[in-house]
Protein backbone atom coordinates (compact mmCIF):
# COMPACT_ATOMS: atom_id res chain seq x y z
CA UNK A 1 0.00 0.00 0.00
CA UNK A 2 2.59 2.48 1.12
CA UNK A 3 4.78 1.64 -1.80
CA UNK A 4 1.99 2.19 -4.24
CA UNK A 5 1.16 5.55 -2.76
CA UNK A 6 4.68 6.76 -3.20
CA UNK A 7 4.54 5.75 -6.83
CA UNK A 8 1.61 8.15 -7.33
CA UNK A 9 -1.66 7.93 -9.28
CA UNK A 10 -1.78 6.43 -12.73
CA UNK A 11 -5.48 7.05 -13.40
CA UNK A 12 -7.98 9.53 -12.00
CA UNK A 13 -11.68 9.89 -12.67
CA UNK A 14 -13.20 13.20 -11.66
CA UNK A 15 -16.96 13.54 -11.46
CA UNK A 16 -17.54 11.17 -14.34
CA UNK A 17 -21.10 11.00 -15.58
CA UNK A 18 -22.60 8.94 -18.36
CA UNK A 19 -26.19 9.24 -19.46
CA UNK A 20 -27.85 6.97 -22.04
CA UNK A 21 -30.95 8.70 -23.34
CA UNK A 22 -32.19 9.69 -19.88
CA UNK A 23 -30.80 6.70 -18.00
CA UNK A 24 -27.90 7.61 -15.74
CA UNK A 25 -25.36 4.79 -15.92
CA UNK A 26 -22.50 6.51 -14.13
CA UNK A 27 -23.33 9.28 -11.72
CA UNK A 28 -20.51 11.56 -10.64
CA UNK A 29 -17.81 8.99 -10.02
CA UNK A 30 -14.57 10.29 -8.56
CA UNK A 31 -11.74 7.90 -7.91
CA UNK A 32 -7.98 7.55 -8.38
CA UNK A 33 -5.93 4.42 -8.87
CA UNK A 34 -2.38 4.07 -7.67
CA UNK A 35 0.39 2.93 -9.92
CA UNK A 36 1.32 -0.71 -9.53
CA UNK A 37 -1.75 -1.68 -7.54
CA UNK A 38 -4.45 -4.25 -8.14
CA UNK A 39 -7.87 -2.66 -7.79
CA UNK A 40 -11.13 -4.57 -8.00
CA UNK A 41 -14.42 -2.99 -8.94
CA UNK A 42 -17.43 -4.85 -7.62
CA UNK A 43 -21.12 -4.15 -7.54
CA UNK A 44 -24.42 -5.71 -8.54
CA UNK A 45 -25.27 -6.37 -12.17
CA UNK A 46 -26.08 -3.19 -14.08
CA UNK A 47 -24.22 -1.06 -11.58
CA UNK A 48 -22.20 0.59 -14.35
CA UNK A 49 -18.88 -1.25 -13.95
CA UNK A 50 -18.40 -2.14 -17.60
CA UNK A 51 -19.55 1.32 -18.59
CA UNK A 52 -16.70 2.73 -16.52
CA UNK A 53 -14.26 0.52 -18.43
CA UNK A 54 -15.75 1.68 -21.71
CA UNK A 55 -15.39 5.30 -20.64
CA UNK A 56 -11.75 4.87 -19.66
CA UNK A 57 -10.82 3.08 -22.87
CA UNK A 58 -12.62 5.57 -25.12
CA UNK A 59 -15.37 3.25 -26.38
CA UNK A 60 -17.90 5.69 -24.92
CA UNK A 61 -17.48 9.42 -24.44
CA UNK A 62 -18.30 10.60 -20.93
CA UNK A 63 -21.28 12.95 -20.66
CA UNK A 64 -19.41 15.02 -18.06
CA UNK A 65 -16.29 14.89 -15.96
CA UNK A 66 -12.64 14.25 -16.64
CA UNK A 67 -10.50 11.15 -17.01
CA UNK A 68 -6.75 11.63 -16.58
CA UNK A 69 -4.10 9.03 -17.16
CA UNK A 70 -0.49 9.82 -16.25
CA UNK A 71 -1.31 13.49 -16.45
CA UNK A 72 -3.14 13.28 -19.80
CA UNK A 73 -6.84 13.94 -20.28
CA UNK A 74 -8.39 10.97 -22.12
CA UNK A 75 -11.92 12.30 -22.58
CA UNK A 76 -12.05 12.77 -26.35
CA UNK A 77 -9.45 10.27 -27.47
CA UNK A 78 -10.28 7.31 -29.69
CA UNK A 79 -9.83 3.74 -28.34
CA UNK A 80 -6.77 3.01 -30.47
CA UNK A 81 -5.15 6.20 -29.30
CA UNK A 82 -5.79 5.36 -25.67
CA UNK A 83 -4.32 1.92 -26.25
CA UNK A 84 -1.22 3.56 -27.65
CA UNK A 85 -0.81 5.43 -24.36
CA UNK A 86 -0.49 2.09 -22.60
CA UNK A 87 -3.95 1.09 -21.43
CA UNK A 88 -4.98 -2.44 -22.37
CA UNK A 89 -8.24 -4.17 -21.69
CA UNK A 90 -10.14 -7.41 -22.02
CA UNK A 91 -13.84 -7.78 -22.62
CA UNK A 92 -16.73 -9.28 -20.78
CA UNK A 93 -17.24 -12.67 -22.38
CA UNK A 94 -13.97 -12.69 -24.38
CA UNK A 95 -13.51 -11.14 -27.78
CA UNK A 96 -10.86 -12.97 -29.73
CA UNK A 97 -10.24 -12.92 -33.45
CA UNK A 98 -11.68 -16.40 -33.75
CA UNK A 99 -10.56 -17.18 -37.29
CA UNK A 100 -6.93 -16.28 -36.66
CA UNK A 101 -4.36 -18.52 -35.00
CA UNK A 102 -3.52 -18.14 -31.32
CA UNK A 103 -0.15 -16.72 -32.23
CA UNK A 104 -1.64 -14.28 -34.72
CA UNK A 105 -4.04 -13.02 -32.08
CA UNK A 106 -1.11 -12.06 -29.91
CA UNK A 107 0.78 -10.69 -32.91
CA UNK A 108 -2.07 -8.23 -33.41
CA UNK A 109 -1.30 -7.13 -29.86
CA UNK A 110 2.18 -6.16 -31.08
CA UNK A 111 0.57 -3.78 -33.58
CA UNK A 112 1.53 -0.69 -31.63
CA UNK A 113 5.07 -1.93 -31.05
CA UNK A 114 5.78 -2.29 -34.75
CA UNK A 115 5.44 0.14 -37.59
CA UNK A 116 5.60 -1.48 -41.02
CA UNK A 117 3.25 0.55 -43.19
CA UNK A 118 0.94 -0.53 -45.94
CA UNK A 119 3.52 -0.02 -48.65
CA UNK A 120 6.34 -2.10 -47.24
CA UNK A 121 3.85 -4.68 -45.91
CA UNK A 122 2.51 -5.31 -49.34
CA UNK A 123 5.58 -4.99 -51.49
CA UNK A 124 8.28 -6.63 -49.37
CA UNK A 125 8.04 -10.37 -48.84
CA UNK A 126 7.90 -11.37 -45.16
CA UNK A 127 11.40 -12.85 -45.21
CA UNK A 128 12.83 -9.41 -45.89
CA UNK A 129 10.88 -7.92 -43.02
CA UNK A 130 12.98 -8.44 -39.90
CA UNK A 131 10.26 -6.83 -37.91
CA UNK A 132 7.91 -9.68 -38.74
CA UNK A 133 10.24 -12.19 -37.09
CA UNK A 134 10.67 -9.96 -34.08
CA UNK A 135 6.91 -9.64 -33.67
CA UNK A 136 6.55 -13.37 -33.91
CA UNK A 137 9.19 -14.02 -31.26
CA UNK A 138 7.76 -11.46 -28.86
CA UNK A 139 4.28 -12.86 -29.33
CA UNK A 140 5.55 -16.33 -28.48
CA UNK A 141 7.12 -14.89 -25.33
CA UNK A 142 3.80 -13.45 -24.24
CA UNK A 143 2.06 -16.74 -24.94
CA UNK A 144 4.65 -18.38 -22.77
CA UNK A 145 3.91 -15.82 -20.05
CA UNK A 146 0.30 -16.99 -19.80
CA UNK A 147 1.19 -20.62 -20.43
CA UNK A 148 -0.27 -21.05 -23.90
CA UNK A 149 2.91 -21.48 -25.90
CA UNK A 150 2.04 -24.99 -26.98
CA UNK A 151 -1.20 -23.81 -28.59
CA UNK A 152 0.48 -21.18 -30.78
CA UNK A 153 -0.65 -22.61 -34.11
CA UNK A 154 -4.18 -23.57 -33.06
CA UNK A 155 -7.15 -21.61 -34.35
CA UNK A 156 -8.16 -19.24 -31.57
CA UNK A 157 -11.87 -19.98 -31.83
CA UNK A 158 -11.22 -23.68 -31.16
CA UNK A 159 -9.49 -23.22 -27.79
CA UNK A 160 -11.28 -24.27 -24.60
CA UNK A 161 -12.95 -21.33 -22.92
CA UNK A 162 -10.46 -20.99 -20.08
CA UNK A 163 -7.59 -20.81 -22.54
CA UNK A 164 -9.45 -18.25 -24.64
CA UNK A 165 -9.56 -16.04 -21.59
CA UNK A 166 -5.81 -16.49 -21.03
CA UNK A 167 -5.19 -15.76 -24.68
CA UNK A 168 -7.19 -12.56 -24.48
CA UNK A 169 -5.03 -11.45 -21.55
CA UNK A 170 -1.82 -12.42 -23.39
CA UNK A 171 -2.99 -10.37 -26.33
CA UNK A 172 -3.71 -7.38 -24.11
CA UNK A 173 -0.34 -7.73 -22.38
CA UNK A 174 1.40 -7.82 -25.75
CA UNK A 175 0.81 -4.09 -26.18
CA UNK A 176 3.08 -3.67 -23.13
CA UNK A 177 0.58 -1.64 -21.13
CA UNK A 178 1.13 0.28 -17.94
CA UNK A 179 -2.46 -0.29 -17.00
CA UNK A 180 -4.63 -3.26 -17.81
CA UNK A 181 -8.40 -3.45 -17.32
CA UNK A 182 -9.78 -6.96 -16.93
CA UNK A 183 -13.53 -7.33 -17.31
CA UNK A 184 -14.67 -10.36 -15.27
CA UNK A 185 -11.54 -12.46 -15.88
CA UNK A 186 -12.80 -15.38 -13.82
CA UNK A 187 -16.37 -15.54 -15.10
CA UNK A 188 -17.11 -18.97 -16.45
CA UNK A 189 -13.86 -20.48 -15.16
CA UNK A 190 -13.83 -23.52 -12.89
CA UNK A 191 -12.20 -23.28 -9.47
CA UNK A 192 -8.86 -24.62 -10.63
CA UNK A 193 -8.75 -22.20 -13.54
CA UNK A 194 -9.74 -19.39 -11.20
CA UNK A 195 -6.73 -20.11 -9.06
CA UNK A 196 -4.49 -20.01 -12.13
CA UNK A 197 -6.08 -16.71 -13.08
CA UNK A 198 -5.33 -15.31 -9.63
CA UNK A 199 -1.72 -16.34 -10.02
CA UNK A 200 -1.55 -14.76 -13.44
CA UNK A 201 -2.88 -11.47 -12.10
CA UNK A 202 -0.24 -11.58 -9.41
CA UNK A 203 2.37 -12.20 -12.10
CA UNK A 204 1.13 -9.24 -14.08
CA UNK A 205 1.45 -7.02 -11.03
CA UNK A 206 5.03 -8.16 -10.66
CA UNK A 207 5.68 -6.82 -14.16
CA UNK A 208 4.88 -3.37 -12.72
CA UNK A 209 1.57 -3.25 -14.58
CA UNK A 210 -1.33 -1.66 -12.75
CA UNK A 211 -4.42 -3.89 -12.79
CA UNK A 212 -8.05 -2.90 -12.49
CA UNK A 213 -10.57 -5.70 -12.66
CA UNK A 214 -14.29 -6.06 -12.55
CA UNK A 215 -15.12 -9.34 -10.87
CA UNK A 216 -17.94 -11.17 -9.20
CA UNK A 217 -15.87 -13.96 -7.69
CA UNK A 218 -15.44 -12.54 -4.17
CA UNK A 219 -12.87 -15.06 -3.16
CA UNK A 220 -10.61 -14.03 -5.99
CA UNK A 221 -11.28 -10.36 -5.34
CA UNK A 222 -10.46 -10.61 -1.66
CA UNK A 223 -7.42 -12.67 -2.43
CA UNK A 224 -5.62 -10.48 -4.91
CA UNK A 225 -6.84 -6.91 -4.47
CA UNK A 226 -4.99 -4.08 -2.78
CA UNK A 227 -8.15 -2.08 -2.90
CA UNK A 228 -11.81 -2.72 -3.63
CA UNK A 229 -14.25 -0.20 -5.07
CA UNK A 230 -17.96 -0.87 -4.72
CA UNK A 231 -20.29 0.70 -7.24
CA UNK A 232 -24.07 0.74 -7.31
CA UNK A 233 -26.34 2.81 -9.54
CA UNK A 234 -23.27 4.44 -11.02
CA UNK A 235 -22.09 5.75 -7.67
CA UNK A 236 -19.20 4.79 -5.47
CA UNK A 237 -20.66 3.32 -2.29
CA UNK A 238 -17.61 1.67 -0.84
CA UNK A 239 -13.87 2.05 -1.11
CA UNK A 240 -11.06 0.46 0.85
CA UNK A 241 -9.03 -2.64 1.49
CA UNK A 242 -10.82 -5.95 0.99
CA UNK A 243 -11.24 -6.28 4.72
CA UNK A 244 -12.83 -2.87 5.32
CA UNK A 245 -15.16 -3.19 2.36
CA UNK A 246 -16.32 -6.60 3.50
CA UNK A 247 -17.52 -5.11 6.74
CA UNK A 248 -19.05 -1.96 5.27
CA UNK A 249 -22.80 -1.89 6.05
CA UNK A 250 -23.65 0.05 2.84
CA UNK A 251 -21.95 -2.58 0.74
CA UNK A 252 -23.72 -5.40 2.50
CA UNK A 253 -27.00 -3.59 2.02
CA UNK A 254 -26.33 -3.11 -1.68
CA UNK A 255 -25.57 -6.78 -2.17
CA UNK A 256 -28.20 -8.27 0.05
CA UNK A 257 -30.88 -5.66 0.40
CA UNK A 258 -31.58 -5.11 -3.27
Amino acid sequence: MMQAKRAGHILSLENIRKVFGGVVAVDGLTVSVEKGSVTSVIGPNGAGKTTVFNLITGFLPPSAGRITYSGRVLNRLKPHHIASLGIARTFQGVRLFPQMSVLENVMVGRHLRSKTGIFSSSCLPPVLRQEENRIRQEAIDWLDFVGLKEYAEAVAGNLPFGNQRMLEIARALAIEPHLILLDEPAAGLNSRETIVMGELIEKIRQEQITVILVEHDMELVMDISDRVLVINFGRLIGDGTPETVQDDPDVIAAYLGE
Binding site: F59, K78, Q99, S121, P125, E132
Partner: protein, 328 residues
Protein backbone atom coordinates in the same frame (compact mmCIF):
# COMPACT_ATOMS: atom_id res chain seq x y z
CA UNK B 1 2.53 -15.45 -47.60
CA UNK B 2 1.31 -18.81 -46.51
CA UNK B 3 2.17 -22.14 -48.06
CA UNK B 4 -1.14 -22.77 -49.73
CA UNK B 5 -1.23 -19.33 -51.27
CA UNK B 6 2.31 -19.71 -52.57
CA UNK B 7 1.35 -23.03 -54.12
CA UNK B 8 -1.73 -21.47 -55.68
CA UNK B 9 0.28 -18.61 -57.10
CA UNK B 10 2.86 -20.93 -58.60
CA UNK B 11 0.10 -23.06 -60.11
CA UNK B 12 -1.43 -19.92 -61.60
CA UNK B 13 1.89 -18.83 -63.09
CA UNK B 14 2.42 -22.27 -64.63
CA UNK B 15 -1.09 -22.19 -66.07
CA UNK B 16 -0.53 -18.73 -67.51
CA UNK B 17 2.71 -19.84 -69.13
CA UNK B 18 1.05 -22.95 -70.54
CA UNK B 19 -2.23 -21.55 -71.83
CA UNK B 20 -0.92 -19.78 -74.97
CA UNK B 21 0.98 -22.94 -75.87
CA UNK B 22 -2.34 -24.74 -76.09
CA UNK B 23 -4.65 -21.94 -77.11
CA UNK B 24 -3.21 -19.98 -79.97
CA UNK B 25 -6.46 -18.36 -81.01
CA UNK B 26 -6.44 -14.61 -80.41
CA UNK B 27 -10.15 -14.69 -79.67
CA UNK B 28 -9.69 -16.87 -76.60
CA UNK B 29 -6.57 -14.99 -75.57
CA UNK B 30 -8.48 -11.72 -75.91
CA UNK B 31 -11.25 -12.98 -73.67
CA UNK B 32 -8.65 -14.05 -71.11
CA UNK B 33 -6.97 -10.66 -71.29
CA UNK B 34 -10.23 -8.92 -70.36
CA UNK B 35 -10.61 -11.53 -67.64
CA UNK B 36 -7.21 -10.51 -66.29
CA UNK B 37 -8.33 -6.87 -66.03
CA UNK B 38 -11.37 -7.90 -64.00
CA UNK B 39 -9.28 -10.19 -61.83
CA UNK B 40 -6.94 -7.38 -60.98
CA UNK B 41 -9.76 -5.02 -60.01
CA UNK B 42 -11.48 -7.74 -58.01
CA UNK B 43 -8.34 -8.62 -56.03
CA UNK B 44 -8.24 -5.01 -54.90
CA UNK B 45 -11.96 -4.89 -54.25
CA UNK B 46 -11.68 -8.07 -52.22
CA UNK B 47 -9.13 -6.45 -49.93
CA UNK B 48 -11.71 -3.76 -49.29
CA UNK B 49 -14.81 -5.94 -49.01
CA UNK B 50 -13.39 -9.00 -47.34
CA UNK B 51 -10.76 -7.44 -45.14
CA UNK B 52 -11.97 -3.94 -44.38
CA UNK B 53 -15.64 -5.00 -44.42
CA UNK B 54 -16.61 -2.11 -46.67
CA UNK B 55 -18.39 -2.15 -49.98
CA UNK B 56 -17.53 0.11 -52.88
CA UNK B 57 -19.96 0.61 -55.70
CA UNK B 58 -17.55 2.96 -57.42
CA UNK B 59 -14.66 0.81 -58.51
CA UNK B 60 -15.78 1.14 -62.10
CA UNK B 61 -15.03 4.84 -61.70
CA UNK B 62 -11.49 4.14 -60.53
CA UNK B 63 -11.02 1.88 -63.52
CA UNK B 64 -12.31 4.78 -65.62
CA UNK B 65 -9.92 7.28 -64.06
CA UNK B 66 -7.02 4.92 -64.65
CA UNK B 67 -8.08 4.39 -68.24
CA UNK B 68 -8.72 8.06 -68.96
CA UNK B 69 -5.52 9.22 -67.28
CA UNK B 70 -3.62 6.85 -69.55
CA UNK B 71 -5.68 7.76 -72.59
CA UNK B 72 -5.51 11.51 -72.16
CA UNK B 73 -1.88 11.79 -71.09
CA UNK B 74 -0.60 9.55 -73.86
CA UNK B 75 -2.67 10.97 -76.71
CA UNK B 76 -2.95 14.68 -75.99
CA UNK B 77 0.26 15.22 -74.02
CA UNK B 78 2.33 12.48 -75.62
CA UNK B 79 3.48 10.94 -72.34
CA UNK B 80 4.89 7.45 -72.29
CA UNK B 81 2.30 4.81 -71.33
CA UNK B 82 4.19 3.91 -68.16
CA UNK B 83 4.38 7.52 -66.98
CA UNK B 84 0.70 7.95 -67.73
CA UNK B 85 -0.12 4.82 -65.77
CA UNK B 86 1.89 6.17 -62.85
CA UNK B 87 0.08 9.47 -63.03
CA UNK B 88 -3.22 7.59 -63.10
CA UNK B 89 -2.26 5.75 -59.94
CA UNK B 90 -1.42 9.01 -58.19
CA UNK B 91 -4.63 10.69 -59.32
CA UNK B 92 -6.73 7.72 -58.22
CA UNK B 93 -4.99 7.60 -54.83
CA UNK B 94 -5.80 11.25 -54.24
CA UNK B 95 -9.38 10.87 -55.42
CA UNK B 96 -9.89 7.75 -53.32
CA UNK B 97 -8.56 9.59 -50.29
CA UNK B 98 -10.97 12.45 -50.93
CA UNK B 99 -13.92 10.06 -51.16
CA UNK B 100 -12.77 7.66 -48.46
CA UNK B 101 -11.49 9.86 -45.66
CA UNK B 102 -14.82 11.50 -44.81
CA UNK B 103 -17.03 8.46 -45.35
CA UNK B 104 -14.83 5.81 -43.76
CA UNK B 105 -14.63 7.87 -40.59
CA UNK B 106 -18.34 7.20 -40.18
CA UNK B 107 -19.69 3.98 -38.86
CA UNK B 108 -21.63 1.87 -41.30
CA UNK B 109 -21.82 1.72 -45.04
CA UNK B 110 -21.82 5.31 -46.13
CA UNK B 111 -18.92 4.45 -48.39
CA UNK B 112 -21.24 2.31 -50.53
CA UNK B 113 -23.53 5.18 -51.39
CA UNK B 114 -20.76 7.76 -51.60
CA UNK B 115 -18.91 5.61 -54.09
CA UNK B 116 -22.08 4.94 -56.04
CA UNK B 117 -22.74 8.66 -56.33
CA UNK B 118 -19.10 9.24 -57.12
CA UNK B 119 -19.17 6.62 -59.88
CA UNK B 120 -22.17 8.31 -61.47
CA UNK B 121 -20.46 11.67 -61.31
CA UNK B 122 -17.31 10.32 -62.96
CA UNK B 123 -19.42 8.80 -65.70
CA UNK B 124 -21.27 12.06 -66.25
CA UNK B 125 -17.97 13.95 -66.31
CA UNK B 126 -16.51 11.52 -68.84
CA UNK B 127 -19.51 12.21 -71.04
CA UNK B 128 -19.72 15.96 -70.48
CA UNK B 129 -16.10 17.14 -70.55
CA UNK B 130 -15.77 16.68 -74.27
CA UNK B 131 -12.56 18.69 -74.63
CA UNK B 132 -10.77 16.51 -72.13
CA UNK B 133 -12.22 13.04 -72.57
CA UNK B 134 -13.62 13.25 -76.06
CA UNK B 135 -17.07 12.87 -74.54
CA UNK B 136 -19.22 10.05 -75.81
CA UNK B 137 -17.10 9.81 -78.98
CA UNK B 138 -14.21 8.74 -76.83
CA UNK B 139 -10.46 8.86 -77.21
CA UNK B 140 -8.82 7.23 -80.19
CA UNK B 141 -5.28 6.11 -80.98
CA UNK B 142 -4.16 5.29 -77.46
CA UNK B 143 -0.71 3.73 -77.91
CA UNK B 144 0.26 0.21 -76.95
CA UNK B 145 2.51 -0.21 -73.98
CA UNK B 146 6.17 -1.23 -74.31
CA UNK B 147 8.37 -3.26 -72.00
CA UNK B 148 12.08 -2.46 -72.21
CA UNK B 149 11.49 -0.74 -75.52
CA UNK B 150 9.61 -3.69 -76.93
CA UNK B 151 6.05 -2.79 -77.89
CA UNK B 152 3.42 -5.37 -76.98
CA UNK B 153 1.74 -5.85 -80.31
CA UNK B 154 0.35 -9.34 -80.28
CA UNK B 155 -2.39 -10.66 -78.08
CA UNK B 156 -0.05 -13.32 -76.78
CA UNK B 157 2.42 -10.74 -75.54
CA UNK B 158 -0.37 -8.76 -73.94
CA UNK B 159 -1.75 -11.93 -72.42
CA UNK B 160 1.54 -12.60 -70.67
CA UNK B 161 1.85 -8.98 -69.63
CA UNK B 162 -1.62 -8.67 -68.14
CA UNK B 163 -1.48 -11.98 -66.32
CA UNK B 164 1.95 -11.15 -64.99
CA UNK B 165 0.44 -8.02 -63.52
CA UNK B 166 -2.36 -10.12 -62.00
CA UNK B 167 0.23 -12.44 -60.46
CA UNK B 168 2.04 -9.45 -58.99
CA UNK B 169 -1.28 -8.14 -57.74
CA UNK B 170 -1.99 -11.43 -56.02
CA UNK B 171 1.50 -11.52 -54.55
CA UNK B 172 1.14 -8.03 -53.14
CA UNK B 173 -2.29 -8.82 -51.73
CA UNK B 174 -1.08 -11.97 -50.00
CA UNK B 175 1.89 -10.15 -48.57
CA UNK B 176 -0.40 -7.50 -47.26
CA UNK B 177 -2.86 -9.75 -45.51
CA UNK B 178 -0.05 -11.66 -43.80
CA UNK B 179 1.67 -8.54 -42.55
CA UNK B 180 1.17 -6.21 -39.64
CA UNK B 181 -1.41 -4.14 -41.56
CA UNK B 182 -3.19 -7.21 -42.85
CA UNK B 183 -3.34 -8.72 -39.40
CA UNK B 184 -4.88 -5.50 -38.19
CA UNK B 185 -7.49 -5.75 -40.91
CA UNK B 186 -8.30 -9.37 -40.26
CA UNK B 187 -8.56 -8.50 -36.59
CA UNK B 188 -11.07 -5.80 -37.50
CA UNK B 189 -13.12 -8.42 -39.18
CA UNK B 190 -13.08 -10.56 -36.01
CA UNK B 191 -13.96 -7.79 -33.62
CA UNK B 192 -13.68 -4.07 -34.22
CA UNK B 193 -13.70 -3.32 -30.48
CA UNK B 194 -10.98 -5.80 -29.63
CA UNK B 195 -8.84 -4.54 -32.49
CA UNK B 196 -9.25 -0.95 -31.34
CA UNK B 197 -8.40 -1.91 -27.77
CA UNK B 198 -5.07 -3.22 -29.05
CA UNK B 199 -4.28 0.07 -30.74
CA UNK B 200 -5.30 -0.84 -34.29
CA UNK B 201 -6.35 2.38 -35.94
CA UNK B 202 -9.47 1.15 -37.69
CA UNK B 203 -10.16 4.26 -39.72
CA UNK B 204 -6.61 4.67 -40.97
CA UNK B 205 -6.43 1.04 -42.07
CA UNK B 206 -9.77 1.18 -43.83
CA UNK B 207 -8.71 4.29 -45.70
CA UNK B 208 -5.36 2.79 -46.68
CA UNK B 209 -6.99 -0.37 -47.98
CA UNK B 210 -9.60 1.62 -49.86
CA UNK B 211 -6.85 3.59 -51.58
CA UNK B 212 -4.87 0.45 -52.36
CA UNK B 213 -7.91 -1.23 -53.83
CA UNK B 214 -8.59 1.86 -55.95
CA UNK B 215 -5.01 1.65 -57.23
CA UNK B 216 -5.62 -1.93 -58.37
CA UNK B 217 -8.63 -0.66 -60.29
CA UNK B 218 -6.62 2.19 -61.81
CA UNK B 219 -3.93 -0.16 -63.08
CA UNK B 220 -6.58 -2.40 -64.55
CA UNK B 221 -8.19 0.58 -66.32
CA UNK B 222 -4.88 1.75 -67.63
CA UNK B 223 -4.10 -1.68 -69.06
CA UNK B 224 -7.54 -1.77 -70.64
CA UNK B 225 -6.83 1.51 -72.42
CA UNK B 226 -3.49 0.27 -73.76
CA UNK B 227 -5.03 -2.96 -74.94
CA UNK B 228 -8.17 -1.71 -76.69
CA UNK B 229 -6.47 1.53 -77.77
CA UNK B 230 -9.81 3.27 -77.62
CA UNK B 231 -11.92 4.32 -74.66
CA UNK B 232 -15.31 5.92 -74.29
CA UNK B 233 -17.53 6.23 -71.22
CA UNK B 234 -19.49 3.08 -72.12
CA UNK B 235 -17.56 0.38 -70.24
CA UNK B 236 -17.26 2.42 -67.04
CA UNK B 237 -20.89 2.86 -66.07
CA UNK B 238 -22.36 2.17 -62.66
CA UNK B 239 -23.42 -1.25 -63.87
CA UNK B 240 -19.77 -2.20 -64.26
CA UNK B 241 -19.12 -1.28 -60.64
CA UNK B 242 -22.04 -3.43 -59.58
CA UNK B 243 -20.73 -6.27 -61.71
CA UNK B 244 -17.34 -6.06 -60.00
CA UNK B 245 -18.97 -6.32 -56.58
CA UNK B 246 -20.95 -9.28 -57.90
CA UNK B 247 -17.75 -11.01 -59.00
CA UNK B 248 -16.14 -10.60 -55.60
CA UNK B 249 -19.26 -11.63 -53.68
CA UNK B 250 -19.94 -14.65 -55.86
CA UNK B 251 -16.38 -15.90 -55.65
CA UNK B 252 -16.12 -15.25 -51.95
CA UNK B 253 -15.16 -11.95 -50.45
CA UNK B 254 -13.23 -13.23 -47.46
CA UNK B 255 -10.59 -14.90 -49.53
CA UNK B 256 -8.45 -13.42 -52.29
CA UNK B 257 -8.67 -16.66 -54.25
CA UNK B 258 -12.42 -16.45 -53.93
CA UNK B 259 -12.55 -13.02 -55.51
CA UNK B 260 -10.16 -14.25 -58.16
CA UNK B 261 -12.37 -17.23 -58.93
CA UNK B 262 -15.46 -15.03 -59.07
CA UNK B 263 -13.79 -12.65 -61.51
CA UNK B 264 -12.71 -15.47 -63.79
CA UNK B 265 -16.10 -17.19 -63.74
CA UNK B 266 -18.21 -14.12 -64.35
CA UNK B 267 -15.85 -12.71 -66.99
CA UNK B 268 -16.09 -15.92 -68.97
CA UNK B 269 -19.82 -16.35 -68.38
CA UNK B 270 -21.10 -14.09 -71.19
CA UNK B 271 -18.79 -15.76 -73.73
CA UNK B 272 -19.88 -19.11 -72.43
CA UNK B 273 -23.54 -18.16 -72.63
CA UNK B 274 -23.16 -16.81 -76.15
CA UNK B 275 -21.49 -20.05 -77.25
CA UNK B 276 -24.14 -22.04 -75.45
CA UNK B 277 -26.97 -20.17 -77.12
CA UNK B 278 -27.07 -22.57 -80.05
CA UNK B 279 -27.20 -25.61 -77.81
CA UNK B 280 -29.83 -24.05 -75.62
CA UNK B 281 -31.79 -23.38 -78.78
CA UNK B 282 -31.70 -27.09 -79.55
CA UNK B 283 -33.05 -27.77 -76.08
CA UNK B 284 -35.92 -25.45 -76.84
CA UNK B 285 -34.65 -22.53 -74.80
CA UNK B 286 -34.43 -19.33 -76.80
CA UNK B 287 -31.65 -17.71 -74.84
CA UNK B 288 -30.74 -14.12 -75.60
CA UNK B 289 -27.83 -12.11 -74.25
CA UNK B 290 -30.50 -9.79 -72.90
CA UNK B 291 -31.13 -12.38 -70.22
CA UNK B 292 -27.53 -12.17 -69.00
CA UNK B 293 -28.61 -9.61 -66.45
CA UNK B 294 -31.11 -12.06 -64.98
CA UNK B 295 -28.47 -14.77 -64.85
CA UNK B 296 -26.09 -12.44 -62.99
CA UNK B 297 -28.78 -11.35 -60.56
CA UNK B 298 -29.89 -14.89 -59.88
CA UNK B 299 -26.34 -16.15 -59.36
CA UNK B 300 -25.57 -13.32 -56.96
CA UNK B 301 -28.78 -13.80 -55.00
CA UNK B 302 -28.47 -17.57 -54.74
CA UNK B 303 -24.85 -17.37 -53.67
CA UNK B 304 -25.62 -14.74 -51.04
CA UNK B 305 -28.54 -16.77 -49.69
CA UNK B 306 -27.02 -20.23 -49.71
CA UNK B 307 -23.25 -19.85 -49.98
CA UNK B 308 -22.51 -16.52 -48.32
CA UNK B 309 -18.79 -17.27 -48.29
CA UNK B 310 -18.84 -17.70 -52.04
CA UNK B 311 -18.20 -20.35 -54.64
CA UNK B 312 -14.56 -20.83 -53.77
CA UNK B 313 -15.27 -21.57 -50.15
CA UNK B 314 -18.18 -23.77 -51.18
CA UNK B 315 -15.90 -25.79 -53.44
CA UNK B 316 -13.35 -26.12 -50.66
CA UNK B 317 -16.01 -27.40 -48.30
CA UNK B 318 -17.30 -29.85 -50.88
CA UNK B 319 -13.79 -31.18 -51.47
CA UNK B 320 -13.17 -31.57 -47.74
CA UNK B 321 -16.51 -33.29 -47.25
CA UNK B 322 -15.72 -35.60 -50.15
CA UNK B 323 -12.37 -36.51 -48.66
CA UNK B 324 -13.96 -37.26 -45.32
CA UNK B 325 -16.46 -39.52 -47.03
CA UNK B 326 -13.67 -41.42 -48.77
CA UNK B 327 -11.70 -41.81 -45.58
CA UNK B 328 -14.71 -43.36 -43.93
Amino acid sequence: MQGRDTAGLIALILAVVAIPLVIRNDYYLGVLIFTAFNCLTCIGLCLLMGYAGQISLGHGAFVAIGAYASGILTTTLGWSPWAAMGAGIIIVSVVAAIVGVPTLRLKGHYLAMATLGFASIIHILAVATVDLTGGPSGLLNIPRISIFGHQLNSDMQYFYFSWAVVAIGLYVAFNLINSRVGRGLRALHGSEEAAASLGVNITAHKIQVFILSAVYAAISGSMYAYYVNYIDPGPFGVMHSVLLVTMVAVGGMHNIWGAFTGAVLLSLLPEFLSSATDYLQLMGIAYQPDYDILVYGAILLLIMLFLPEGVFDGLGKAVRAGRRMIRR
